[in-house]
Symmetry: C2
Subunit: 596 residues, 2 copies
């Protein structure tokens, strides 16, 4: 059987930064070439970054993407890498005529094959996802071509991301065209336990198409989305051959024995019924007809899987690191209360950007307990972050001299004074404000608009309180085992007392979370079923939740909608965040006026 060494470039592009992404393309192609690869596959929309959302509706952006592709092909050739075929995702446009409701300029979620200085062929995603975090019917028109190119005697087909998740379309066409290998650029976001789903999908589609399948996935954070990598190669029988690490850039190099292409199948185009009411045009090309001389394959790499808590923690650290760096910040600031939410947030931040770039502010009030300050100071000493103390009592008094506030209004005032202090220090020194609210609080509205919710990024907004505790214990257990995502703290970075003490907002004397909320183990189980599993009232009761509690929590969650909408973005680790779960990217590096 003919052999091929394929390289999957599991990389972290920056949305809108076409120049940096193109530089990375060259650099990684050089590395793939040095490792003897015969083909390198980059991720979906790698040249533009993914997702780019409204940027694709600007014609100057699509022009820039198309120009970057041509220029990348020429540059690969100029740098002596032209003989290595490169499959890479970018944004293109379709030639279809404008009509009401069609995305402006008819953009395509495209991929191209670059070889010997030229763009040899182009294709585009056929199935456009429009659910969960995806909005692609707004932004793209459907692709209807599938290239299959002969490389060293093997027929290689290209499909894009969602085309793998839907029946019919390019996978079907690849099978009918007799492909020996299907390569798939992806930008598939992380969710807990998604790696299992992904492997099962690759295996089943490989069997369906009757060919090996190479799945290259993006890695890195983009606002709320975290891409976890986990690139995969499976054989035509669906068996796993190689697999890249999670949450880390990696060039996954794999030697494959593949079926020889049918010598009767000649270059040219033919239509295939896509099985979904549309027709796909298969375009057959030839780069090189003859198999390579036999060579000694390298053993395949299968990176070990992370366990669940390590996965989640890695996603949170990567999310914070990329949000900070991709937005051009150099440091972060947050309030440290001595409680577990701000302690975990500070620790994630220290792991993400280093403790020297983390600034914490202790802001005791008249209701703060003794241990609030001592536990916070303990964390500062363990981690070596920068800290300052700003008592808020005088400021709260000055407000209360002017207006009479009681009950919740008075509690909110304290949270808002803290939020304003952090925003003031952010504006003065350029730190990014991190908020410290967890998902259990936010879902039930147990937070203050413009108070503890004021800030630029919310690292644990998708983490239930019980998971906050579990992650804290897990992180402490890793002291002495540093990694790319864990700072080398010699001792457990989180004070034990912050983990074990009873949660309190400390906004009135003797306040405890359980005054307003059910115990967190009960609440979190219910929230998980209602928010993440989307169960209705009847289903929740049938699942054994207390009917009165169901009614009470549903009411809290539904009413807290407005506050949650104003909450800053944070890494997304579950299928559903809150009631509404639309991705709205903020960060991008592309401007109409580059250089400004």
């Amino acid at each position: 059987m003919p052999q091929l060494r394929i390289a999957l470039a599991q990389t972290n592009p920056v949305v809108g930064d076409l120049t940096a992404n193109a530089d990375k393309l060259i650099e990684w192609a050089r590395e793939a070439s040095a490792r003897g690869a015969h083909l390198v596959v980059f991720t979906e929309m790698f040249l533009t970054g993914y997702p780019v959302e409204d940027l694709v509706l600007r014609s100057s952006f699509v022009d820039a993407s198309v120009a970057a592709l041509t220029s990348a092909a020429e540059r690969l050739q100029a740098e002596g890498l032209g003989d290595l075929p490169v499959v890479v995702g970018y944004v293109d446009r379709s030639g279809v005529a404008p009509r009401v409701g069609q995305p402006k300029g008819a953009p395509l979620d495209a991929a191209a094959l670059l070889h010997r200085g030229h763009v040899v062929t182009r294709t585009a995603k056929h199935h456009l996802p429009n659910y969960g975090v995806f909005d692609e019917y707004r932004y793209f028109v459907r692709g209807d071509r599938m290239p299959i190119f002969r490389l060293h005697g093997v027929d290689v087909a290209i499909a894009v991301c969602e085309d793998l998740w839907q029946d019919g379309g390019p996978v079907l066409a690849a099978g009918q065209a007799g492909a020996g290998l299907l390569v798939v650029p992806n930008a598939s976001p992380y969710e807990r336990e998604k790696d299992d789903v992904r492997l099962a999908l690759c295996a089943s589609r490989a069997r369906e198409a009757g060919c090996a399948l190479a799945y290259a996935n993006q890695v890195g954070g983009q606002d709320e989305l975290i891409f976890d990598g986990d690139s995969i190669v499976v054989g035509a029988d669906g068996e796993l051959i190689s697999r890249a690490a999670q949450f880390r850039e990696e060039l996954l190099v794999t030697d494959l024995d593949l079926p020889a292409a049918d010598p009767e199948a000649r270059p040219g185009s033919f239509p295939v019924d896509a099985g979904d009411g549309t027709t796909i045009t298969v375009e057959r090309l030839e780069l090189s007809a003859d198999p390579l001389p036999p060579y000694e394959p390298e053993p395949p790499v299968v990176a070990p899987r992370l366990d669940d808590l390590e996965e989640v923690y890695s996603a949170l650290v990567l999310g914070v690191r990329d949000y900070v760096t991709k937005n051009g910040f150099h440091s972060v600031i947050l309030g440290l209360s001595g409680g577990i939410d701000s302690a975990l947030t500070a620790t994630i931040a220290a792991d993400a950007v280093g403790p020297d770039r983390v600034h914490v502010v202790l802001m005791p009030s008249r209701h703060s307990s003794e241990h609030s300050i001592s536990d916070a100071r303990d964390l500062v000493e363990r981690q070596g972050v920068n800290s300052r103390l700003v008592p808020i009592e005088g400021i709260v008094d000055s407000f209360e001299n002017e207006v009479d506030l009681h009950g919740l209004a008075a509690e909110n005032l304290q949270a808002r004074v803290r939020g304003m202090l952090l925003m003031g220090l952010s504006n003065e020194h350029g730190h990014l404000v991190l908020t410290t609210g967890n998902k259990s609080e936010l879902a039930t509205g147990y937070s203050t608009l413009y108070g503890d919710s004021a800030g630029g990024f919310a690292p644990i907004k998708d983490v239930l309180k019980t998971t906050v505790w579990a992650l804290s214990r897990w992180r402490n257990s890793q002291a002495g085992h540093p990694s790319d995502l864990l700072h080398p703290f010699p001792t457990p970075p989180i004070p034990e007392n912050s983990i074990t003490k009873e949660p309190s907002a400390e906004l009135r004397p003797g306040q405890r979370d359980t005054d307003s909320l059910p115990p967190y183990d009960v609440l979190d189980h219910l929230l998980s079923d209602y928010v993440e599993r989307d169960m209705g009232k009847a289903g929740l009761v049938a699942a054994g939740h207390d009917p009165d509690l169901v009614a009470r929590v549903i009411r809290l969650v539904d009413i807290a909608e407005y506050k949650r909408r104003q909450y800053p973005p944070g890494p997304k680790i579950t299928p559903k965040n809150f009631g509404r779960d639309r991705r709205l990217p903020i960060t991008n590096r592309w401007r109409e006026t580059p250089g400004n």
Copy 2:
């Protein structure tokens, strides 16, 4: 020719409030019956309100909608209104099997015909809009049936909203089926000058289908969307026959002479090529075969058009009124600076809910000028709103005792102190906080996050500064001409000095808006071209804008994205609001646990 008297129910439903909407259906059907109508047409998704967004993905909500429809049919019969055919929009579900990416439960944007206690037939929107403020691919599956029912010898077809805006589909099918009248329930949001587009569209589709067309549109505010009514009846030649008022509920009753149905065309179903790659099943029904005895028609009503400023002002007042009442607030609060933005916002609020339910707070700082207070007091006297004075100097000092803030950080602190005071008073007394920022400021980032942008609704967020002035002069010119949307102020409600003085944020000594921004006439023209017309850099320069200013303003607008995202909703009056323009409804009355 056979005659028919049709009534279009141009009404204001409440999203999620199925009970109140059903009550309104009965009440308006009774009125239509009293006026001798032979058919009454309600608006798109009238029973559920429009838009309902994520609510349609809850199966309990779809169940409730379907049950409300059946029960409405029975109730009409029970109340003696069963003989009047009623066309009404609601949410239904398709029976199609679930698949990846399809909206959960396969909901339909449906309409039904009710007659003699039964749901006689059901249909659903075929063309799903997924651009601008519409996201319907996320929420609905496509309808593929078109009913045509014989009523007093006339064949009447039903299509839903977007089906009118797209080529092919139900309009084509209605023409092929030989309909004499096409009735169209709509929820078509207001934009400046949209009424002209709408009339031209109705005229052209009527000619295309070769039949008269009756277009019933929703009225009222729902978060950012304002529905303007403007229901229309045109003849088969496209000529206008009758037209309802803008921004007001109205039962538009129109007598029509219509072609007799073909007696050969019998009840039954047949397929029609929809001209868009799909097939539509036409379902022919008969309610009554024989024409009515001739009767004396009423003269048709054509409501006069509002001029442009009156249209915009009406949209803003209706938007505030409906946001306040549909969210269950009884009063509003805002900061009054003496400048024109807060003066206009206060006036819109007074027109919307009455001056006795408007609370203004004067919050002078050490940088406030003499006229800040005197102009604000002048407005309070002219309008009789509730007011209080809260100087902020002492509070600002108490912050500055704790942290050193300079420049922008110090300016932002003052805006945030004001925002916190308003939020505190809102929490204490239950007022809704209105923000006072205009579109020119927000687009360029000339506002403070958690400061002047803190609040629940932003009445003039889509109004450019030059339009703020124009609306203020227009409103003053209407003193003595009260209406449903204009409070009967005997004298001009806005102090002349607030209109004529130079704009300043008064956050540092001698500050003027032109220190940071170009003159507003220049800026607004550029913003309108960049944001609303979506022109790129090259196009803006070609249109005659100064190249340096283009680069500067584009940079401001692109960078201000984050702040704008956190801005509260406000009435939308232009095709595009800012860079991103997705509708995200907040208000709804439907809960999993009704009664709580």
